[in-house]
Structure formats: structure tokens, C-alpha cells
């Protein structure tokens, strides 16, 4: 026995735990613990307040995403991808659609690439806001959470404006997107970003130099550069460990090679570095989105028509009566539900490939070719039919590399869809991050991992 007290004695009082009968305490955290965002169970073995061993159990939110994809057509999987990372669903939509496009060997239009880029970045900000806000709240900074949720609201209004929904947006399509951007979208984005920047500035002043926050975050949950790579961790956690790997920079997809941005990195690989990386990335994401909206090409719009816009009902009537001459060129007044889906708008945002992209509604109702085209894509047994083969498409999700590996057997259904979930590796490495740290440090570490049940459990 040494005379200086052991760390354990220091924590628990003299003489405690020095006998041979010491026993570790098993405590299960979760699956329904408020700090376990979503549902996940961490079985811990405690020695005093120190976690000696941890075992993570996942799968509580398993919904058979990959199996479900195999039973429907290629576009039928889009709503399922919304529910993978439900904080930034747009990125999932686009990544899946791009994987199928790679399999088909088609290119989407320039305008579509810029829309995907801008919308992905707006999603990324939503994701980072949620992650930083929630982990700050768990450390007691409730104000930050409220501010960040307020900022997220501004961005979700943008998402709602474009997609018609807030969370389950289903906006991506194989070969394009559902609809063109609404009028005046860039202005609205400008307003929302201005307010978001104000919030980020406030949060910086509240947290970045905050003694309590720093004490809880610096040096906690550290993972070395080598470990991070060996565990296959990508995204903000990898960049926080000093590796500037970002799919947007390394293998630019969509329009990322035509916008300027920086890849923020930190050196320490602890929770505070992850926080700083996420805060810096939000600013970069806004830069990318602004540039993408500014440089977005118009693309050809067919305007060579005569006559006034029709309402859809009389358009269909005319078609039924056989008065089809010139009908294809007449623009119709679309219901607000179909905003951005007029023929001109769809031609701008969708690939010109009839084997993949649904025809505009004017064509489907106004011409036999359009109707047949629609039929061939919608009816069971037809649909999009990529040639036999396989493709892996990687994009930068909010948590890291989001990959889709799609195998086609030549039929209208994907033979196999595999989603590489970006938050599975850090959750797998979580025991390594929290073991031999204190129980209270589990919370910020788990928050910085940004576990999203939807994509973790699929």
C-alpha cells in the first residue's frame, strides 16, 4: 500500500476498493435514456465513476431498409432513404439517386447538379445545428439548443419551400429532382443564412470560449489519428483528428468542383475539436450553397408556344377529344402541388433520358408518347432497368462518407442496395472513446459522435 492515496481513494474516500473484494458495477445506459439520441444501449462496467468497459448495442431502429429496397422499383427506395439520416434527408436522396445514375451511366443536367449541391449544404447545416445544439443542451447550455433550433427552423422553411415537406422530403429522383426551385429562392436563402450566421455568432460567443464548456469538451473522447482511420471513421470526426479527407474535395461529385470552399480541420481529435470542425463547416456549407445558387445555370426553357396557359382539366379534355395539335407546346396552369414541375422546369432539372425520368405531366396527359413513356416507367415489370452490374457512389453526408452500393440484375428492381452508414464506425469505436473516462464524459462524447438511429440501424 502506498501512502499517497490512489486515484480511486481520492474519489471514493480512504481505504475504499483497496481490499480484494472490489467489484465493478454494471450500469446500462439506454436504450431509452434521454441522452441516447434515438435508441441505443451502452452497457457499462463502472469502477467508481470511471467506465472500465463498455459494450454498445444497436439495432433498435432497424427497419429493413436494404431488404425493402429490393422489392420495389428504383425510385420507390427514395422515401426510405429520407428516413436514413432524418436530419439531413436531402443528402441521402441525392446520394442514392446518384448511385443509380452511375449504374445507368447517365449524367444529370448542370442545373440539377447545382440544385443538389445547394440543397445538400442546407441539409448539412441543419444536421450540424442539431448535433451541436443537442450536445450543448446535454451539458446544460439550454440556450444554445434553443438558438440552434431556431436557426434550423429558418433552414427547414427553405427545405419546405423547395420540397413541400420538412423532414420526409423525397425530393431526389433518379435522373434529376422532383421539381425545380421556386421563384426567388436565392433571396430567401440569403435572408435565412443571414439569420443563421447571427445565431452561429451568438453560439460562438456563448460556447467557444466558455470555461465550463471547454472543461467538459477538451481532451474528452479523444481518438488518435491512426485509430480514427483504422476504425473507418470519416467526416467531422476524422477531420477533427487532423485528416483533411472530405469526399466533396477528394472526389468531387455534383457541382462541388465548381465552388470554392475550405475543409476545416483540427489536430486533437477530441470533442472540442469536433465541435470546432462542425461550427466551421456550417460556415463553409453556407458559402457553398450561396455560390451554387449564384452560379446556377438556367438551361433551356421551351417557350415557343401560342395561346394562353390552360388549366389541367380542360387540357385533358382537349386531349380526349383528339384536339392534340400543338397541345404539347401549350403550357398548363399547374396546381400548386406541382409547383416547379411544369415542362420547362422539369427539362431544366432532369436528365434527358426517357428510360429513367418521368415525362412532364403535360406530356403524359397530352400525347400518346408521353403517356406510353409514363406507363413504361410506372407499371410493374417495366420501370427503370439498369444493365447488369454494380456501382458504389460516395458522397459527403453530414456525418461522413455516405456510400450507396447498388447491384442490378437487369430487372426493374435493385438486386441489392447497400447503404454505408457514416455514423456506424464512430458508434462502433465509442467504447474506445469512453473507456477509462468518467461516466459524465459519456454524454458529450456520445453527442459529438452524432448518432442518428435511422442510418445506424437502417
Amino acid at each position: 500500500m502506498s501512502i499517497t492515496p490512489t486515484r480511486r481513494e481520492f474519489m471514493l474516500g480512504e481505504g475504499s476498493g483497496t481490499g480484494s473484494g472490489g467489484q465493478n458495477l454494471h450500469v446500462g445506459v439506454g436504450p431509452a435514456h434521454p441522452a441516447m439520441h434515438g435508441i441505443i444501449r451502452i452497457a457499462t462496467e463502472l469502477d467508481g465513476e470511471y467506465i472500465r468497459k463498455a459494450d454498445v448495442e444497436i439495432g433498435y431502429l432497424h427497419r429493413a431498409f436494404e431488404k425493402d429496397c429490393e422489392v420495389g422499383g428504383y425510385n420507390n427506395a427514395i422515401p426510405y432513404t429520407d428516413r436514413l439520416n432524418y436530419v439531413s434527408p436531402l443528402i441521402n436522396n441525392f446520394a442514392y439517386a446518384s448511385a443509380v445514375e452511375k449504374l445507368l451511366g447517365i449524367e444529370v443536367t448542370e442545373r440539377c447538379k447545382f440544385i443538389r449541391t445547394a440543397m445538400s449544404e442546407i441539409s448539412r447545416i441543419c444536421d450540424h445545428l442539431t448535433c451541436v445544439g443537442a450536445s450543448a443542451m446535454e451539458l446544460g447550455a439550454f440556450t444554445v439548443f434553443l438558438y440552434m433550433i431556431k436557426a434550423r427552423e429558418f433552414l427547414w422553411e427553405l427545405v419546405e419551400d423547395v420540397t413541400g415537406a420538412r423532414l420526409t422530403i423525397s425530393y431526389g429522383r433518379v435522373g434529376g429532382v422532383k421539381a425545380d426551385l421556386p421563384d426567388g429562392f436565392a433571396t430567401k436563402v440569403g435572408h435565412a443564412f443571414k439569420q443563421t450566421r447571427e445565431v452561429l455568432d451568438e453560439v460562438h460567443r456563448l460556447l467557444t470560449g466558455n470555461r465550463i464548456f471547454m472543461d467538459r469538451m477538451i481532451g474528452v473522447g479523444t481518438l488518435s489519428r491512426e485509430d480514427t482511420i483504422a476504425w473507418g471513421i470519416t467526416g467531422p470526426l476524422l477531420r477533427a483528428a487532423g485528416v483533411p479527407y472530405d469526399v466533396r474535395r477528394a472526389q468531387p461529385h455534383w457541382a462541388y468542383d465548381r465552388v470554392e470552399f475550405e475543409v476545416p480541420t483540427q489536430k486533437d481529435g477530441d470533442n472540442y475539436s469536433r465541435y470546432l470542425v462542425r461550427m466551421a463547416e456550417m460556415e463553409q456549407a453556407m458559402r457553398i450553397a450561396e455560390q451554387a445558387l449564384e452560379r446556377m445555370p438556367g438551361g433551356p426553357v421551351n417557350v415557343d408556344f401560342e395561346g394562353r396557359p390552360l388549366d389541367p382539366a380542360s387540357y385533358v379534355d382537349q386531349g380526349k377529344q383528339g384536339k392534340t395539335e400543338g397541345l404539347l407546346l401549350v403550357p398548363i396552369r399547374l396546381s400548386p402541388n406541382l409547383q416547379g414541375q411544369s415542362r420547362g422546369a422539369l427539362q431544366q432539372v432532369n436528365a434527358a433520358d426517357k428510360r429513367v425520368v418521368l415525362p412532364p405531366k403535360e406530356n403524359a396527359y397530352g400525347s400518346i408518347e408521353g403517356l406510353m413513356n409514363h406507363f413504361m416507367l410506372i407499371m410493374e415489370g417495366y420501370g427503370i432497368r439498369p444493365p447488369q452490374g454494380e456501382a458504389y457512389f460516395a458522397s459527403e453526408g453530414a456525418n461522413g462518407e455516405l456510400g450507396f452500393y447498388v447491384i442490378s440484375d437487369g430487372s426493374d428492381r435493385p438486386y441489392r442496395v447497400r447503404c454505408r452508414p457514416p455514423c456506424l464506425p464512430p458508434v462502433a469505436a465509442l467504447p474506445k472513446m469512453i473507456e477509462n473516462e468518467m461516466v459524465a464524459d459519456l454524454i458529450p462524447t456520445f453527442g459529438s459522435v452524432n448518432m442518428i438511429g435511422g442510418e445506424l440501424d437502417r
Binding site: I58, G59, H62, A64, E66, K67, D68, E70, V71, K102, L103, G105, I229, A230, W231, G232, I233, T234, V243, Y245, A250, Q251, Q388, G389, E390, A391, Y392, A394, E401, G403, Y405, I407, D409, G410, Y415, R416, R418, R420, L424, P425, A428, A429, K432, D457, R458
Partner: protein
């Protein structure tokens, strides 16, 4: 592509076939040479695939033209941060001998990814330290991503059998 040439040169007959469909370099490897290949990919300076990006499998029992062939393919997606290139490695195994050597010794993340493959496909990994199901629970019957697992099957703990 340089990566595939390099693999063929180093491994010779262990590389069963290669292709580059849609620009993805892919090599099918003999099972016996798998660990050697993975290690080579990771440690060889001009390959330097430090990251095991993904490990999954596919059941080819309903794939046109491959119904008789080896049923499963275990698929490794590797990425090199140093050289910014990717490769896809595959191992084919039969249903009655669905065992692949575990890569946990090379990459710790293989632990969970292999557990998921075992969970979903019933492919075993020899020398795996803890081959439990990952996403599903122990009482689950069957391996749901196999093509002969019907999508509407009920499980004993969840609802009445149909």
C-alpha cells in the same frame, strides 16, 4: 487501372477476375488469399488503402446466370487517403461452406461490419472475436437479406406465425 495491375502482378492466380464497370476497380480474390490481399492493400506504399470503407455481402442465388455458382459474395470497399483511390475486393463462397477469414486483425471496424454480414446473410467469419448478430436480436430466425427469406415473414417474438 494501376491498382488492378498491381494486384494481378503481386497476387498472380489468386486474382480470379477483375473488371472496371462504371469506373469502379473490382477484383475477385480467392478466399485463401484474402487476408494476404487485404494486408497487401493496406501496407504496400503504392496501394496504401488505409480505410476499410465498407464490408458487405450479396446473395447471388437469384441473379440471372449465377443461380448455380457460389451463392455469396463478400464485398470489401477500400479507400486510400494517401492516393485518393478506391478498390472493391470480392470473395465468393458457397452456401454450404460460407466462411470467410475475419479482417478484424487488420481493421477494428471489420468487427461490426462482419457481425452485420453474419446477421443479414449468415456468412461466418473465422477467428472473429465476437460473432454475434449486430442489428437483429439473438432469437431472430434466419438471415433476412438472403434472397430466400420472404419479406413478410413474421418472427416468433414479434407476432403470430403465418
Amino acid at each position: 487501372m494501376a491498382v488492378l495491375d498491381r494486384l494481378r502482378e503481386r497476387l498472380g492466380p489468386a486474382v480470379v477476375e477483375t473488371h472496371e464497370h462504371r469506373g469502379d476497380a473490382t477484383a475477385v480474390i480467392e478466399r485463401g488469399a484474402l487476408l494476404e490481399t487485404l494486408q497487401l492493400c493496406r501496407d504496400e506504399p503504392d496501394l496504401a488503402f488505409e480505410v476499410l470503407m465498407d464490408l458487405t455481402a450479396a446473395d447471388y442465388s437469384r441473379f440471372p446466370g449465377r443461380e448455380d455458382g457460389p451463392r455469396f459474395e463478400v464485398v470489401y470497399h477500400l479507400y486510400s487517403i494517401t492516393h485518393n483511390h478506391r478498390v472493391r475486393l470480392k470473395v465468393r463462397v458457397d452456401e454450404d461452406d460460407a466462411v470467410v477469414p475475419s479482417a478484424t486483425g487488420l481493421w477494428p471496424i471489420a468487427n461490426w461490419l462482419e457481425r452485420e454480414v453474419w446477421d443479414m446473410f449468415g456468412v461466418r467469419f473465422s477467428d472473429h472475436p465476437n460473432l454475434r448478430r449486430l442489428l437483429l436480436y439473438e432469437e431472430f430466425v434466419g438471415h433476412p437479406l438472403r434472397k430466400d427469406y420472404p419479406i413478410n415473414r413474421r418472427q416468433p417474438l414479434i407476432g403470430p406465425q403465418t
